[in-house]
Structures are given as C-alpha cells and as structure tokens.
Amino acid sequence: MSNMMSTILYTVYIIIFLAFVVSIIEFTVPIIVKADFDRECDYYLDKSVDAGGLTVSETMQLVAKIEAMSPNINIVSYDITRSGSVAYKDDVHFVINATYSLSTITSTFTRSNKNYPLYYEKQFANRRIIN
C-alpha cells in the first residue's frame, strides 16, 4: 500500500515537473528567437545608418539570414529604404515584420500553432550626402 502510494505521489510530482519544464521551454524559445532576430537586424541597421539605407542585395541578404534562422519564421513584409534614394536629413525607414510559429500545448493532449510577432522598426535621419 505504501509503495503504491509513493509511486502515485512521485508520478504526479514528475508529471507536474515535466509540464512545468515544457511550459518554460515554450515560453523561453520565442524570447530567444526574438533576441537573435534583433541581433541580425541591428547588424544591418548599423550598415543602413552609415550608408543611408541598404542596397537591394544587402536587403536580400538580411531577408535570407532571417529566414535561415528557423523554418518557422515567416517574413510578412519589409520596408527598408534603398541607399542613395533619400536626400540628406530625410528619414530612412528600416522595418521588418515577421512571425514565428511554434506548436504549443493548449490542453492535456492537444497542441496548436501559435504565432509570435517579430517586429523591428527604426527610423532615422539620413547622414549620408550623395553627390
């Protein structure tokens, strides 16, 4: 009786513990993906600040790198000013809108895809003078 009781208690405890670990992982993964997404965008933002925008090939590189981060990332839209296309002091836009889909537990035996927004928006005055 005692062994059975202890088995039941430990089973319940392990189930609760595992459920907690899974929920923590499901909660943490989108935060880590967002940090990686921001880091990639920051790198290209620095280039954009120096050059007053990005070239078409740099924009494509950025899009490809974001998509390569995870097959679950879907780029919805982007608006990045092309370098040399805006005058000095005019605003340069750097906007990327993507989603990250993750299958999460919704109840005991069901999972469903949840979309997390990955949004990066910066705007700054162009410092580059084009002759």
Binding site: M1, S2, K34, K89, E121, K122, A125
Partner: protein, 181 residues
C-alpha cells in the same frame, strides 16, 4: 506484527515527507530562480533595443538640427529644440506616442521619461564606460531614461501584490559624438 506495522508507517511517513520536501524545493527555490533568469534575459533584450533606439535617435537629432555646422561646445543640448527633436525620434524608434506614452506595440510597458541628456566635452578623455567597457576618445553624451517594465511571468499576480502598474528601470547609456559632427 506490531513491528511490521511500525516500519510500514515510518516508510509511509518518509515518502510523504520526501515528496513534500521536493515540492517545496521546486516551488520555493527552482521556480523563482528560473523566473528571475527569464526576466533578466528579457530585460537585457529591452535594454539592448532601447540602447539602439537612443543611439540612432541622438544621431538623427544631430543631423536634423545641423549641429555639426556649429561648434558642438557652444550648442545647448538642453534646449527645447534639441529635446523635442530627440523626443520625436525616440518615440518613433521605441514605438511610443509622440508624448512618450506607451502603445500596444511599444518596447516597454509604460511611459518613458527622459531624465537627462548631458553633453560631455573633451574633459576626462579617454573615458571608459564601467558597465560596457566601451572606451570613448571623442566627446560623448550621458543619457538617462526612466522606463517602466512589467514582469512577463505571473504578471497580474506580481503587480497586484506589489500594488504598482509596473517596475521603474533607470536606463543609462553613453553615446559617442559621430565623426561627421
């Protein structure tokens, strides 16, 4: 028979005690440590994003106001003109309302306040930021903002217990004067 019953009762008691101890350790130690770790990581993300927003907003303000044409030593960086231009770009880059109140898409969970923008001239150069280790060899700015951040885990419970809308976080950053300026 009596001995057997006694052993069985002791064993039963030990099992219950060990399960209770496991649950207490889990709830009282592991849970708060994990929660704090996740919150700290999230605050770092917000801090990095705010730092990027502050740097490009400052550069944009210097460019928009043509400050490089005048002597930066003579310019009053506490003037309304400079503060309002900086505020304009900061609101765009932190996805806030023009008066720095928060929106649904903003980086932080409450209003942002600019505590200080201080231009540091050529005194005390080179200067090393004690937090980041970054060395400044050109004039730089001290920027201090007040951010409001809410916890992401057990948000409602923590805020209800604390009786506040969010926790104040003082953001400091040093931004170097760009070479063009």
């Amino acid at each position: 028979m009596n001995v057997f019953s006694k052993v069985q009762n002791e064993e039963k008691g030990n099992v219950n005690v060990s399960v209770v101890i496991s649950i207490v350790v889990f709830v009282m130690i592991m849970l708060p440590i994990l929660t704090l770790g996740i919150e700290r990581y999230r605050i770092n993300i917000i801090r990095n994003d705010t730092s990027t927003a502050v740097e490009i907003s400052l550069l944009s303000s210097l460019t928009a106001l043509d400050i490089y044409e005048a002597s930066s030593e003579a310019y009053n960086f506490e003037s309304d003109e400079f503060i309002s231009t900086f505020t304009h770009y900061l609101s765009l880059n932190m996805r806030l309302n023009p008066d720095l109140t928060d929106t649904e898409r903003s980086l932080v969970d409450g209003d942002v306040t600019i505590n200080e923008i201080r231009y540091v001239g050529t005194d005390n150069l080179p200067y090393m930021n004690p937090n980041t280790g970054e060395v400044f060899v050109r004039p730089y700015f001290n920027i201090e903002l007040n951010l409001i951040i809410s916890p992401s885990i057990y948000r409602k419970m923590i805020l209800d217990v604390s009786g506040v809308d969010g926790f104040h976080y003082t953001f400091f950053d040093d931004v170097s004067m760009p070479i063009d300026n």
